[in-house]
């Protein structure tokens, strides 16, 4: 089969230069065609909303069980045992996913809302007293760290492993570059600590972790599977919301008109968070692997080929979105792919929205204006987009 008809690109979408300003490159990829050959990585790329959505929604053709990074598990051994959800296909996926879906269900979120909202109020009050602070460590990291590990059921000692472990997980989806090599070189102590925490006896009663283990009692999971499923929440539950909240703060600081709208109507908090997920796409990319020869956007693809989905590019595709480069908190965002789509769509999306909503609502009520008080510094990761530092000043309402 000839594959020469697809346009080719020499872009390295995992380079520091790209991370510094991916948006013009995203536009070039979208314009080049529905499917682009990424010569540097030896894989295909899709950057338009339609093809990204199509790949997400066709799991029998675009499988996750061969890894959702560049590495093909059919050829290479993964750095850790594969995830029971992210890196599986049905029917195995369905079984483990059902357990997580229940633990993180809308009904479960109702039970957390009050405590999370109170924690958000306390955090915003504390930062208002300080006036000027670094919004990444002091807010985007501090708030999720003040609620999520407790909800997961993690013991207080050793929590300094949480963020480095998550960073490795997301760096490992990328190609064999400096970011991935350095991350994996230092992973052993973090992974050992996390696996120890995932054991039933180390998870607090009433927590997400305990609820997952309870599924082993009913035979839904085996006792060996339960800790591995808990591990998914250590990997995906913290760094994601940190970068999501960081994205929202960075958007609201850069678009004072939108902050004014939010301040005038705090009920827009949830929408403001969701639009930040579309606009910045804190999770930038995931791969799939073709399970059979197929065709995508008129381009024939062979079996066993990697396809890289650019979520951020799809979320700003002018074919799908009106004024895609405007951060608009009143936008109808339904259909954005910042949380993915299809059977693997983020199982923690409700928890992420809860955290984002209560925090932005607390800000909206107590803060009249947000000002950037220093130069923001970017943090580099093969999958996550976000800042390392964002100095802000808050003005009390």
């Amino acid at each position: 089969m000839s594959t020469t008809e697809a346009p080719a690109s020499d872009l390295d979408p995992f380079s520091i230069a790209f991370f510094d300003d991916p948006f013009p490159e995203h536009a070039r990829l979208r314009e080049a065609g529905p499917v682009v050959r990424l010569r540097h990585l030896g894989c295909w790329g899709v950057a338009r909303w339609q093809e990204v959505t199509a790949v997400f929604n066709d799991w029998p053709t675009y499988v996750s069980s061969r890894g959702v990074g560049l590495q093909d598990f059919a050829r290479e051994t993964p750095w850790r045992s594969p995830s029971l959800v992210l890196e599986r296909d049905p029917p195995e996926h369905t079984r483990a996913r059902a357990v997580l879906g229940r633990v993180l269900s809308p009904a479960a979120m109702k039970g957390l809302r009050e405590d999370f909202a109170a924690a958000a109020e306390r955090k915003v009050a504390e930062l208002l007293d300080r006036g000027t602070f670094d919004a990444i460590p002091d807010l985007a990291e501090a708030f999720p760290l003040s609620v999520f590990p407790d909800a997961l059921g993690v013991r207080p000692d050793g929590r300094e492993h949480l963020l480095p472990f998550a960073a490795v997980t997301f760096n490992a989806f990328g190609p064999d570059n400096d970011l991935r090599r350095q991350a994996l070189a230092g992973v052993a102590p973090h992974l050992a600590w996390v696996m120890e925490q995932c054991r039933r006896e180390n998870l607090a009663p009433g927590s997400f972790g305990a609820a997952i283990h309870a599924a082993a009692d009913t035979g839904e999971l085996t006792p060996e599977e339960a800790p591995v499923l808990v591990r998914s929440l250590f990997s995906a539950g913290l760094d994601t919301t940190i970068n999501g909240i960081g994205a929202a703060l960075w958007c609201l600081a850069r678009f004072p008109g939108e902050y004014a709208r939010l301040h005038a109507d705090p009920s827009l908090a949830r929408a403001a968070f969701e639009e930040a997920i579309r606009f910045e796409s804190p999770v930038q990319t995931f791969f799939r692997t073709t399970s059979r020869p197929t065709e995508l956007g008129g381009v024939p693809l062979g079996e066993g080929e990697k396809v890289l989905m650019f979520l951020a590019a799809a979320n700003r595709d002018p074919r799908r979105w009106d004024r895609p480069d405007a951060y608009d908190i009143a936008r109808r965002t339904s259909g954005h792919v910042g949380f993915g789509a299809g059977i693997h769509m983020c199982v923690g999306q409700l928890l992420a929205r809860l955290e984002g909503e209560v925090l932005l609502a607390a800000l909206a009520r107590r803060v009249r204006g947000i000002e950037i008080a220093g130069t923001p510094v970017r943090r580099y990761n093969n999958t996550l987009r976000g800042l390392a530092s964002l100095p802000l000043t808050l003005h009390a309402a």
Binding site: P106, K110, S334, I343, Q349, L350, E357
Partner: protein, 104 residues
């Protein structure tokens, strides 16, 4: 193009034409109905596309799956016997759906 009717929380009735093959959720979003949020985009994961089915004269609606039934336990507005997630309902002629006060 099936026509379906929404009843807003204030009692106002609104009839819309849905595209063939679309879900009730997609039809509502296309029409810009603010009472349907559909945060998960129709993947049956968020329960923010909740509606009450008032009339299904054609008897065209499939029964809820286990996933939908479990999600309905977490709707923001009260769950009633006629509660459904509109992303799981094919838009079919003559449907009458009431929109809840809130989705989150």
């Amino acid at each position: 193009m099936p026509s379906i009717t929404f009843i807003h929380p204030d009692g106002r009735r609104q009839e819309i034409e849905a595209d063939d093959g679309s879900s009730v959720m997609q039809a509502a979003i296309a029409e810009g109905l603010e009472e349907i949020l559909a945060e998960c985009g129709g993947n049956c994961m968020c329960a923010t596309c909740h509606v009450y089915v008032i009339e299904d004269s054609a008897g065209a609606l499939p029964p809820p799956t286990q996933d939908e039934d479990a999600l309905l336990d977490g709707t923001a507005a009260e769950r009633r016997p006629n509660s459904r997630l509109s992303c799981q309902l094919p838009a079919s002629e003559g449907l009458v759906l009431e929109l809840p006060e809130r989705q989150t």
